[in-house]
């Protein structure tokens, strides 16, 4: 097995890591989007139109695809803001399927015959760069105040709101950032597969990414990475029994759901230790005494509720 035959596996693994991390950011504030494939499709279609019909290079097309993903994500977040958890998932599901139908019947982007004629522009290095961007963005996001605010909103929206976190803004920002990463990965994937078909936007493709997340575990950003790497590479590793590999794939998913319902990687509740089946991969951080200034640091303006911006004196009158 030489490097050339491994290239597709490596590229798909890297891109799936990007998409899983995008979905992880979106899920960080408690909204598990079922439209990942549709957002990736928006990025893919848009970048393909730009490179094929307007002759753009890959990089600006990818950036624009990421922006388009962010716009779609913002829209979805705004629409689903007031919805209950279950209905939110269903709305994103329906949105993805509706986009798929739209692509199916739109002749400018190929309709049912798929968008073809894309030039091969993606190399391993492009995919690797995309993965580094995704990991860096997620890593910074995860540890930022916005990341903590997102987790607070996920765990208890009411309490988070009482602590002065704006649920609307946290949800919109997480959805937009996550969707931007997904759109970027979709654009790069489109320039490797060279065909974008309406079926790639559907529910069952989106479900794959959710499986990555739940398989790896949602508690740390390394869970989705592990899930995406294992589950993309696993069908290839299992190729020795070509006929049975999908059966084994199903079996592995069932076993993980039954034996480790929180995913493969879990975090101990108080610190940041990352554990896998009893082994500590990353030790817990020592809890240090914090100074009063750290406690009284104000929230960034973007996270404050509108009411907080009213001066106290004005409110008292």
């Amino acid at each position: 097995m030489n490097l050339a035959s491994l290239e597709p596996v490596i590229i798909f693994t890297l891109l799936n890591v990007c998409m899983a991390l995008g979905l992880y950011i979106t899920a960080l504030s408690g909204q598990l989007s079922m439209a990942t494939a549709a957002i990736a499709g928006v990025g893919g279609y848009l970048s393909a139109i730009l490179t094929v019909k307007f002759g753009w290079p890959l990089l600006p097309a990818t950036i624009l695809a990421a922006l388009a993903g962010a716009v779609v994500g913002t829209g979805l977040a705004l629409v689903t803001l007031k919805m209950r958890d279950f209905i939110l998932k269903l709305t994103t599901l329906a949105f993805g399927e509706a986009l798929s139908v739209l692509a199916f019947n739109w002749d400018y982007i190929g309709g049912a015959n798929s968008f073809t004629g894309i030039e091969l522009k993606t190399t391993i290095w492009t995919a690797l760069a995309a993965m580094f961007v995704a990991v860096y963005v997620t890593w910074r996001f995860d540890g930022s105040r916005l990341g903590f605010a997102s987790r607070a909103v996920r765990d208890d929206p009411l309490a988070a709101s009482a602590m002065g976190v704006s649920i609307a803004q946290v949800r919109t920002v997480t959805f937009a950032v996550g969707a931007a990463l997904v759109g970027m990965a979709g654009a790069i994937q489109g320039h490797y597969v060279l065909v974008i078909s309406p079926h790639d936007l559907g529910f069952f493709v989106s479900l794959n990414f959710i499986i990555f997340l739940l398989f790896g575990g949602l508690q740390t950003m390394w869970g989705p990475v592990l899930g995406a790497v294992l589950l993309t590479a696993l069908p290839e590793i299992l190729r020795f029994s070509n006929q049975y590999r999908l059966i084994l794939y199903g079996l592995v998913i069932v076993l993980v759901v039954l034996r480790r319902p929180d995913g493969l990687l879990t975090r101990t509740p108080t610190g940041r230790a990352v554990r896998l089946s009893g082994w500590t991969l990353v030790p817990a951080r020592a809890v240090t005494q914090t100074s009063p200034e750290q406690h009284n640091r104000p929230l960034p303006a973007s996270l404050r509720r509108v009411a907080d911006r009213v001066p106290l004196k004005a409110a008292a009158q």
Partner: protein, 290 residues
């Protein structure tokens, strides 16, 4: 007008199958809070169990083949409940969804290994004959399929409304903890609910196999999403609502195929879903809290 009536009849025949699969989904979701994505593949197993019986003992006739389908689907449903659904009860809806989806992948590809990935001809157990009902012409198989599905729906309705176990089922659907406090054996009822849904799926599967004359390892994909949508559109408070929506979606699809374009047929159900979710997020007939 005749075309309209013909499309109405065709739509109702398809819709009755959607309704039976959707009821299986709805029973599992309402009573156990489980989205059983393996249900359409249990349906597929029932179809193949019937096929095996029909090929092995051709003289036995339609009824025995139906029973074989029921046994095959019921066995898989029972095993699924014991191994995956029961240990995951009370967890997040998404975990059971992923778990049953894993089982679905195993069932589909397992059957594809056994039977091959291509459609297989189903024995012609019912003669190919046409029946005229007023201005509408249907095949005998369509009439039989419709009759079987309606009978199943009626049976479920009677079971849920009029029997003690049915009353326990409704009690669990509303408040599992309170039902348990009043002496309902929740685990037993849950087990029976999955078994019932699977066996109904088995009957419908054999009838659909005979109707289309073929069996396919990936037939579940076609029915799974549609049945899921039926359940969401109707909401899970009334099982009868799910049945009506199943019939209605079959009807809408037939109209879209007849008057608009067949490529939009599969989209019709999603437009119905988006419209209903927008105006009535809990479904047309309301839902229990999840």
């Amino acid at each position: 007008m005749d075309l309209f009536l013909q499309q109405l009849a065709n739509g109702l025949v398809i819709g009755s199958t959607y309704a039976v699969v959707a009821i299986g989904f709805a029973l599992a979701f309402t009573v156990l809070r489980v989205i059983n994505f393996a249900h359409p593949d249990i349906f597929m197993v029932g179809m193949f169990a019937g096929l095996v019986a029909a090929v092995e003992w051709p003289a036995l006739g339609f009824l025995v083949v139906l029973i074989a389908g029921v046994l095959g689907a019921g066995f898989v449903g029972f095993a699924l409940e014991r191994t995956v659904i029961a240990p995951l009860r009370g967890r997040d809806v998404l975990m059971t969804l992923i778990g049953t989806l894993g089982v679905a992948i195993m069932l589909q590809n397992g059957m594809a290994v056994i039977a091959g990935p291509d459609p297989i001809a189903y024995p012609a157990l019912i003669p190919r004959r046409f029946v005229d009902i007023g201005p509408v012409t249907l095949t005998l198989r369509q009439v039989l399929n419709f009759a079987i599905c309606l009978a199943l729906l009626a049976l479920v309705s009677i079971y849920v409304r009029w029997t003690p176990w049915g009353r326990a089922t409704r009690a669990i659907a509303e408040r599992p903890d309170v039902a348990a406090a009043f002496g309902v054996n929740v685990a037993r009822i849950c087990q029976f609910t999955i078994l019932l849904a699977s066996m109904m799926g088995g009957v419908a599967a054999v009838s659909v196999g005979v109707l289309y004359g073929s069996a396919h390892a990936f037939v579940g994909l076609l029915y799974g999403l549609k049945a899921f949508i039926c359940m969401l559109v109707a909401g899970n408070r009334y099982f009868e609502g799910v049945m009506v929506v199943g019939l209605a979606i079959g009807f809408v699809e037939a109209l879209v195929t007849g008057y608009v374009s067949s490529s939009l047929r599969d989209a019709a159900a999603f437009f119905v879903l988006i419209g209903v979710l927008y105006f009535r997020p809990n479904g047309l007939f309301g839902s229990y809290a999840t």
